[in-house]
């Protein structure tokens, strides 16, 4: 599959935990717009490994039995002996896993529960570490009938009761219900989200500084540590006595932008992290750096995930939002303004929103994460209807209603954004895996630039990223 092709069918919009049904109110998906084409990620990076599972049959096998088998193999090779018979184990999942890999993530969780119950004679409960604020996550509990499938399944919000723990660098607070068991198992889906924060240092440890923690710890991660040091929070929490006394192992769904490429498990999170990180840098690096080639673009949000957590072609919007800077290169300070009480005068040290983004359109987008700072300088368009009202009422975007233009429909929003910016470049974040939905001129531009970017990543950027992380001799999982 190479070159530009007809648009793919984006994943269906799902009912959210708040009871909203975006599929019933969104009249047109962006992929249906005239002139939108699919740019397969494989056209950008032909070296990607073949998926063992993909949500889309045009990208790879959709048979979940392969994922089951690979999960069982990974489980059998890992050491689970920290789990004593008759103990309780919290299998900690996260909404991102369901969002990105759906049934494949579910299968990995199910097989893990079965394996541990059979081999370690323990009780395994599913505990979902809820993400920030009021993101309109699809209602995974009901969509996948998790209570019936796992017997004991609960969502654990970050605003819930906390537990204070001591670490080598000071106190942090974790979400108590995630750790209210004799042991826990850490699960993850490898991908490239929030790289500007974690910088791919100790990537697999990140939930210990964010997803598994209370508000206090998450806020400290953002405001209390440096531009390349936030992950020290995650490392300190993971290394704490409280966590180590309960930790029983980790299992990860390894991915490329097209889908699942493997399953890996290990008690040694450092070893697992080294294998997964090496693969993520190889498999996502070219696509991420290609974002820097875009000089002007209108962004269309058309799926689940709020703003920086919206996905297209397997990468999150934040890869474009900060795409002008190679934040994987640790020599780049890439300082977000919140990290320092005093800011440098020298241009290039602070990381602003990508100036290539000229306008943004919300056809459907979940709320929950603050993003309206961008609406201060960017023309922003909402497509009239209930989905626009949901965003305007969102607690995290109280000024959106004052700043956004309301267009009667999606084509009108596109026309207005084009007229305001003069840009013919559209990129859509609609959760479609394996291909970017773009306007044809942008697709042609990216195709032209991709070989040089891929070569630069292969010969310069990737070796440097790996060396900076002590992974130069590592092979991916």
């Amino acid at each position: 599959m190479t070159g530009l092709r007809a648009p793919m069918t984006p994943p269906a919009l799902q009912r959210t935990w708040t009871g909203r049904d975006p599929a019933s109110v969104v009249r047109m998906r962006a992929a249906e717009l005239p002139g939108i084409v699919a740019l397969p990620v494989r056209s950008i990076d032909p070296s990607l490994p073949a998926p063992i599972w993909s949500a889309d049959a045009s990208l790879g096998p959709t048979d979940l039995d392969v994922v089951r088998r690979r999960t069982r193999e990974a489980l059998q090779q890992a050491d689970w002996t920290r789990i004593e018979p008759r103990s309780t184990v919290n299998l900690i999942a996260n909404p991102h896993g369901f969002f990105l890999c759906g049934e494949a993530y579910l299968v990995m969780l199910e097989e893990t529960q079965r394996h541990l119950v059979a081999k370690r004679e323990c009780t395994v409960r599913l505990r979902i570490a809820e993400s920030m604020g009021h993101i309109e996550n699809p209602d995974w509990m009901r969509i996948y009938d998790l209570r019936n499938r796992f017997g004991d399944a609960e969502e654990c919000p970050q605003i819930g009761r906390g537990v204070e723990i001591d670490t080598r660098v000071g106190p942090f607070w974790l979400t108590r219900d995630l750790f209210s068991a004799d042991h826990f198992v850490h699960t993850h889906v490898a991908e490239m989200r929030e790289g500007y924060l974690h910088r791919m240092i100790d990537r697999l440890h990140k939930p210990f500084g964010m997803g598994y923690t209370r508000l206090e710890t998450r806020s400290a991660y953002h405001f209390g540590w440096g531009p390349r040091t936030g992950q020290l929070v995650a490392r300190a929490v993971f290394d704490s006595d409280y966590v180590q006394q309960r930790y029983a192992g980790s299992i990860v769904l390894d991915t490329s932008p097209e889908g699942v490429i493997g399953v890996d498990a290990d008690l040694d999170l450092d070893a697992l992290n080294a294998r997964i990180t090496t693969g993520v840098l190889r498999h996502y690096g070219t696509l991420m750096r290609l974002m820097a080639e875009i000089d002007d673009v209108i962004v269309v949000f058309d799926g689940h995930g709020c703003h920086m957590y919206a996905y297209g072609g397997g990468i999150a919007f934040d890869c474009l939002m900060y795409g002008q800077v190679d934040f994987l290169d640790l020599d780049n300070l890439a300082l977000l303004k919140g990290f320092a009480s005093r800011l440098p005068d020298t241009p290039g040290l602070t990381m602003e929103f990508n100036p290539a983004i000229k306008a943004q359109i919300m056809n459907y987008m979940a709320g929950g994460v603050p993003y309206t700072m961008m609406t201060r300088r960017l023309p922003t368009y909402l497509v009239d209807g209930p989905a626009a009202e949901w965003l305007i009422d969102d607690p995290a975007s109280p000024w959106l209603g004052e700043r956004a233009h309301i267009a009667p429909d999606l084509p009108a929003a596109i026309t207005a954004a084009r007229a305001a910016t003069g840009s013919d470049h559209l990129i859509v974040f609609d959760s479609t895996p394996g291909a970017l939905h773009v306007s044809e001129p942008l697709g042609q531009l990216l195709l032209e630039r991709a070989p040089a970017v891929a070569e630069h990543v292969r010969t310069h950027a990737l070796p440097k990223w790996l060396t900076q992380r002590g992974l130069a001799t590592h092979r991916p999982a």
């Binding site: 819930g160 942090f172 953002h222 020290l232 780049n332």
Partner: protein, 225 residues
């Protein structure tokens, strides 16, 4: 800036079990428990009660309620809450921000777009608890997450770090989590054992940056490709 409040929470009496979780997580302490009146539907003795004027549409209650006993309603007339920094002494505002180590003119609450100066002005104007700051500025009532720590830091710097939790058994906030600058000793140096323990991080370099020293990055590194 400030917050435009567009929605308000409502308790559905017949579903409420009086579990108090909503009371424990509300950043503006807009909910309490009281005895259920005989004429009210529902079977549990206690019921949550909402004080609408204090509800800033944070929706923590909606998220945490296990009984789906809370719904949000659009207000007919949205209202705006915020603190005018011009009402405070600029020197005091600046000094408090500096003491707390937060940017004065930078955004701290990304949702209400509240600056450090506005938060400091609220503290200097008498907001001496996190919930009082939220009521005065609208901060911490959006995602309720990002600005959590800087607000607690400001209160501590102003001498109000011992504010009691409200309600006492609640968990709208706990305390100040560890910060990188805490690792710097009186000699302005980070102990070698910590630098060694976290050698994968450029900790010493980031700490210089956090203290405003950017010398090692000039001229700036070129972006690639």
């Amino acid at each position: 800036m400030a917050k435009v409040v567009r929605m308000v929470a409502e308790i559905i009496a017949e579903r409420c079990t009086g579990c108090a979780l909503c009371v424990y997580v509300c950043p503006t302490v807009a909910i309490t428990l009281r005895d259920r009146r005989p004429d009210e539907p529902g079977t549990h003795r206690r019921i949550a009660e909402m004080f609408e004027a204090s509800c800033y549409n944070a929706q923590n209650c909606l998220e945490v309620c296990p009984e789906d006993a809370i719904v949000m309603h659009r207000l007919a007339e949205p209202f705006t809450v915020g603190t005018d920094v011009a009402q405070a002494d600029p020197a005091e505002v600046k000094a408090l921000c500096r003491k707390a180590g937060i940017p004065g003119r930078g955004l701290v609450c990304m949702c209400a777009e509240t600056t450090g100066e506005e938060l400091a002005a609220a503290v200097l104007g008498g907001a001496h608890t996190p919930e009082a700051i939220s009521l005065a500025t609208g901060a911490r009532t959006g995602c309720t997450e990002l600005c959590h720590q800087p607000i607690l830091q400001l209160l501590a710097a102003a001498g109000h770090g011992d504010a009691p939790r409200n309600p006492a058994r609640g968990f709208q906030w706990y305390g100040i989590a560890a910060r990188a600058l805490d690792l710097v000793g009186p000699d302005r140096v980070v102990p070698d054992e910590l630098l060694d323990a976290y050698a994968q991080f450029p900790l010493a370099s980031d700490l210089r940056v956090m203290q405003g020293d950017f010398a090692e990055f000039e001229p700036p590194a070129a972006s690639a490709p």
